[in-house]
Symmetry: C2
Subunit: 174 residues, 2 copies
Amino acid sequence: MKFDFHEAIEILERTPGTLETLLSGLSPDWVACNEGEGTWNASEVIDHLIEGEKTNWIPRLEFLLLEGESKPFPPFDRFSHLNDAEEKSIEYKLHEFGIIRKESLAKLRSIFESGLDLEKTGTHPAFGQVKARELISTWVVHDLTHISQIVRVMAERYRADVGPWVEYLGVLKK
Amino acid sequence: MKFDFHEAIEILERTPGTLETLLSGLSPDWVACNEGEGTWNASEVIDHLIEGEKTNWIPRLEFLLLEGESKPFPPFDRFSHLNDAEEKSIEYKLHEFGIIRKESLAKLRSIFESGLDLEKTGTHPAFGQVKARELISTWVVHDLTHISQIVRVMAERYRADVGPWVEYLGVLKK
């Protein structure tokens, strides 16, 4: 096991700033590009991260701590953010993500300081038994997955433009 | 063609800040972890990016503009940074990368303003004919490749820790 609570927090608290530095102020084509029909652009990924703060990570941790294995987590709709018709700028969304992540981390720290049992188990609707520390580890890797996705989507935009160098560029490997 | 000179610069100028926000102040284990023998950790990737500023991007562009297709670019040793025995902190390296990237972009803008012919061709030692705009596009995607690599390497550290969620986390797909 590599998981360490404080090291996990280090990643979670850096994600909003990392994405803000990468994306804020970019030309619209960088923000709007995707990998084809049914795939997400950078702006939609930020929507998904915001949705996760609202309905996934802390709510599931609190549910696990309250219910143990007795009831499965309420399912999390990974596509619900796509139903939000309101169009906000990416800068607005990044700011919102930064605020809501800070709130989540304040709750997480407070749960930890009240004596969080990292081995405590709950029931995932698809996987069955999962541990509190696995949920927090997943939150960390979920951040990294979506940073990686945004970077890959943006690289894809220049697939034809790099000419023969495509061969050397790992992010464009299919 | 999606390439646009000013949009390419937008990515190039954001990379040092993005990596600084992601990596600066992290616990040593996040910075030192890699994907196994012969693979790079985050700190070694920053060394490689610094080396590219010194010997790859602007030097190759200048060479292409000077020599055209008459002589191939001098080869670029993608592993030379691994020979540097001196151990510097990642914060020091990130700062160095930020400074040297600013210098590169000042040169790139100055070349552009002097009337850069983006269609001008040179000879790559392995690929043969390449264009100035392909070189600059590759520089952009090379940044994105290495951001993606760092994020993937860090995610790998928690592969076992995420438990059954490994199935949902794209960055851990082999």
